[in-house]
Symmetry: C2
Subunit: 493 residues, 2 copies
Amino acid sequence: MTTPAAYSPSRPCPLASVQRFDFETDVAIVGFGTAGTCAAIEAVNAGAKVMLFEVSSGSGGAAALSGGELYIGGGGGTLQQRTAGFEDRTEDFYQYLLMAGGPNADEAKVHLYADHALAHLDWLIAQGVEFKNSYVAERVMEPLTDDCLVWTGSEEAWPFAQAARPAPRGHTVRQEGWSAGKYLMDTLARRARELPIDVRFEARALALIADGNLHVHGLVVRIDNEPRFVRARSGVVLCTGGFIMNREMVRRHAPTLLRADHPIGTVDDGTGVRLGMSVGGAAINMTEGFVTVPWYPPGSLVKGIFVNERGQRFINEDCYHGRVSQFILDQPGDRVWLLQDHETYAPGLLHETARVGIGAAGDTWAEVEQELKLPAGTLTATVEVYNRHAAQGDDPLFHKARKWLKPLDKPPFVALDCRVDHAQYSAFTLGGLDTLPTGEVLTEGREVIPGLYAAGRTACGLPRWGKGYSSGMSIADSTFFGRQAGLAAASKG
Amino acid sequence: MTTPAAYSPSRPCPLASVQRFDFETDVAIVGFGTAGTCAAIEAVNAGAKVMLFEVSSGSGGAAALSGGELYIGGGGGTLQQRTAGFEDRTEDFYQYLLMAGGPNADEAKVHLYADHALAHLDWLIAQGVEFKNSYVAERVMEPLTDDCLVWTGSEEAWPFAQAARPAPRGHTVRQEGWSAGKYLMDTLARRARELPIDVRFEARALALIADGNLHVHGLVVRIDNEPRFVRARSGVVLCTGGFIMNREMVRRHAPTLLRADHPIGTVDDGTGVRLGMSVGGAAINMTEGFVTVPWYPPGSLVKGIFVNERGQRFINEDCYHGRVSQFILDQPGDRVWLLQDHETYAPGLLHETARVGIGAAGDTWAEVEQELKLPAGTLTATVEVYNRHAAQGDDPLFHKARKWLKPLDKPPFVALDCRVDHAQYSAFTLGGLDTLPTGEVLTEGREVIPGLYAAGRTACGLPRWGKGYSSGMSIADSTFFGRQAGLAAASKG
């Protein structure tokens, strides 16, 4: 057996070819984002020797770019939920997460998380992460104040509200301004640096080290431009994020996401997914992603209606912005508009950040229809049917909730231009390695691959369906299941 | 190193654990369907020693259940195309195949096939497969006579016709009745049995045999309930079909296909895909499948329009039935109807085989709308807009070709009930292993896995996008790229 001339994350390095190990540890973690950090904290607290390898020169990951929300509920409600008057039963939380996971939801993960989300919040607080006891009732993307509880999903919208009693579940860390995620990540990273975790920056994972049975025994990392061989007696935990920045992987697995011009990620080059696949790990839900154009706030815009280039409505507009955006992507052609009247229209995020302008305006919907060059009788028929039923407080076609219904009959009327190929659509990937709730990586036959774990967006976790994504699901998943992976790996020592 | 207690197609058997080989060959082929047969014929003709393992007790595969069509064109046209008056330039053939491959089309495979399709037809004829020189102009699923050339795709429909000059390209083998595919398969199998190919029936592939570098050296097969070890000096060629019969794999990778209650397959349990993944092979386009309800002939039905449960149209109805069916699956809810008037309606396959009945009827479209319990002004507005433009020979919303346009204004009117969860929808999978045109299996990093090849639906080939599938693409792909894999493997001897 010979050592491959060049390493590739898609091909394992044979154990028998390793001359000597440069490092020996119990648990080797790849990636210093939220998942890797939580895995490291739990593994070291469980008594394991832990090394953490990060390709960048500091901690980070996509969560650090986020609004710092975690999707938490069940157990009767968090302090914030109860204070705001929401009881949140575990059963409702479970049902919502299950629906949000889509047709291939992971029942075992949903079940475990629904049962332990409250305790997970306590754990985060114990690591030093602060959450204010406050609630923002308005429809926002994320609070720009230091407030905590917000609505971040489609809980009150059809069909979710019919299956699970709604409650706000987005718990935002106590930090003002955009990107409270950085505060969350920094706090967790600070905690990790207080513990005896051997962190190596600028260390790129090159390949897993596996024996002939494809049991994983460590990994090859590049440090100072040299391959270094790491023996991980208990396990390797892959936490390198998703693959949105690897455009070739996106093209191959989730080409629709290429239309979103604003990928959300730091490294996210698919290294972890590829490492897992190299030893027979199954990658699942690889076409799925989170995609969004921030089309609200203000909430009044929810009273408008979206139409495609055939003048047809296609969604109840009171869904979460990401779910609406997924339906936008499904429409034939590129042209999509958000119709508003004089009472509902207000400038907002669409203008500030999303490059969305006014596509047409008019004193009648027929004028708007004409200006958009839609065939006569298309958009006008759509608005006419909508208005007639909205006046009765009903939306028989798409089931938008009554509180958002009003006839769009106060001129002037506008059509906001939400073209995917023009406006700013953000995206990250939701597909990844199939894992048990313990983080153990599975083959296509669902056999465990000994010595290999994954968490965060390297794995396919709670969030795995673009049409069900809700803000805070990814960080809830990465922190909670990062912890499980760290604990499980440490227990093999 | 120890031998695993039980074999799994998702885990390789370590070469070092093999005590002795029961068989030695140059090329080991798994699966006696069209792909495996063509691979075997070419490999043995190239001078290789060939073994062919088939889990069933006879040759077959999904192609044997088919109509026996091959999608062939380019080079100025086949004899049948030219006789029928169609010149088919390679460039048009290439463009159509590329569009049909969807957003992740394989340019290299499309290019190779477009250049060599005519020679491939000659090769099939040389193996004994007969094709009549005749053309059926009517819109059919497949000829029930022994005729050859038919339209089997969306060549004349928007947007395909705008990108590539249309020509009929479905070449049906000379055989009367349904399932001419059996004649095709039997003819190829007969040819293979005349050659010195060592065929073993009732032999199930259990695992690949790989060394520490994951180079493939053979496979473990179960014969007479015992694991047998096969050394393949030049390569293993996986031709076990797709995975539509493995409902757990379908649920995990392509859950939408579960809605189609009529899976088309024989074994098709995903063994080949799993074997490839077990040594780091990348499976791509795994969500994609061919799904169809045979809603024509007669062709007059194409003059009707499909509406979803919001009363909206969603497709130009002159597309290939499989493309239309994919759009049906995309619609929200389950209820979909095909609207016809007195002039266009005629009973056909829908009634005979697809469990499609009349959902509503009326003397006005308003009556039909009401009977279907659609909100007032939905279906009627759709028909009104359609009729107005159809009278002008135009379909500005969906671009149905002029020859299929006529106002649906002759009562009585009917709505044919095409519910996915009620009617008969057939399906097979289009996702599979990423391969080079040679059949060499690739990792996620697109490195070749030495010693491993795949073809037919085990690989991701020309057909890889449900909305682009055209009848004959799968067998064209399995026979042509089966040949390439056999040749490539033999050349490594």
